[in-house]
Symmetry: C2
DNA sequence: CATTATTTGTGAAATTTTGCACGGATATCT
DNA sequence: AGATATCCGTGCAAAATTTCACAAATAATG
């Protein structure tokens, strides 16, 4: 169960399994085999078993997996048995949409603070309840509120400086929506959510498929 | 230069290179070596050269790459020498933010139509100019406007049916923001933009780092 | 209770992806 | 011009990841 030995793709897939399992639980399915789950996720069944094997034995041979139990275990593995506190920088269109998005809170992620540089925005209260703080106060607010994950929804030009603020405030994980490769010190976790990279993949696929 | 032989990660990285190169062009850098570009992208330099080698020879030994030229070539490879027509389903917070997002149009992606089921929304005009169509008319509108990429920004529960509509309208590429694994026929391209999967990765990282 | 049908967990093989290291091409310097 | 330094393109090896295939465990059947 060594941290470094577990591939990042495995973690990503665990997250996908947890989502599929949640849907199954909702449909009141009690037990599922790796074949069925694999089909639902679009993943090879052996892959699922291998992924789970990194963390233990959760199934019963000849039977399958208890949906609720496996879901619980995966969530425990991912660290979703707590609420994670997030802060967001950049209250533009995207930032607003993210803060308003109910999926986050449902999954155990909560925006406890939002920041912007625009003086016209600072001090206002969002429909979702948060008051917009001045970016200058990030360090202090992050420490006060115990922010664990920093979300960057600024334009690309401001993203790196926002990252620096989070870093010096001691935040160790960043979710970056800006289309830029952030420079961060060793040990930080950065995940990029990049629309245009995804679109470029689609464009390539369409272009190739033509021939 | 066989389509199927080129890894998807290579395409993703090409997209990242193109972004870095765009930044460099902006800074008026004329020539760059794979080492420098690699540093900027956080990628191994040999990897960059390998990725490019799939498509041809773009550099000069002992010199490097001409920034503008390489950028042009990568964009050509990805199919970005044209404007791609997108349609979006689901005008919620996220959908609105996406349609308003300037990055898309800047990169050659244009929303030519948006759809919703809510009768209160249908017929209204967005600040970005598009009139909201009734989802029922998707097939017709998609064909009329020549939509090439479908964007799904509905709740998870409506995403699959939105996908079906795009599929039967002949759209071959989907960008899916709903937290669900879409079922699509062979040959379709689907890219998922999944915030919570990314957050789960961060949560796992933080949880592991604790110990 | 033995036989048959499932389905997990896992070693080993197959495949994919990455990274090294070096030949060859280009530029610079003395 | 020759020597030196730089840097691309690529064969090859290493590493990582996926997939196969089967033993072991469980349940169902007659």
């Amino acid at each position: 169960m060594k941290f470094s030995k577990i591939p990042a793709v495995t973690i990503t897939r665990l997250s996908i399994y947890s989502r599929c399992l949640e849907a199954l639980a909702q449909e009141d399915v009690k037990i599922i085999a790796s074949d069925k789950l694999a089909q639902k996720c679009g993943i090879n069944p052996a892959q699922i078993r291998k992924d789970l094997a990194y963390f233990g034995e959760f199934g019963i041979r000849g039977v399958g997996y208890f949906v609720k139990e496996l879901l619980f275990e995966i969530k425990r593995i991912l660290g979703l048995n707590k609420t994670w506190k997030m802060a967001l920088v950049g209250i533009g269109n995207l930032g607003l949409a993210l803060v308003a998005h109910e999926n986050f809170i449902r999954q155990g992620y909560e925006f406890v603070a939002v920041f912007d540089v625009d003086p016209a925005k600072v001090g206002r209260r969002l429909p979702s309840g948060q008051v917009i703080y001045n970016l200058e106060d990030l360090d202090q607010v992050v420490k006060e509120k115990g922010v664990e994950i920093g979300v960057i929804a600024t334009p690309a030009s401001k993203a790196q400086s926002a990252a620096y603020r989070f870093i010096s405030a001691g935040v160790k994980a960043l979710l970056n929506f800006a289309p830029i490769q952030l420079q961060v010190p060793e040990g930080m976790a950065v995940e990029n959510v990049d629309f245009t990279v995804k679109l470029d993949n689609l464009a390539y696929h369409l272009t190739m498929a033509e021939t």
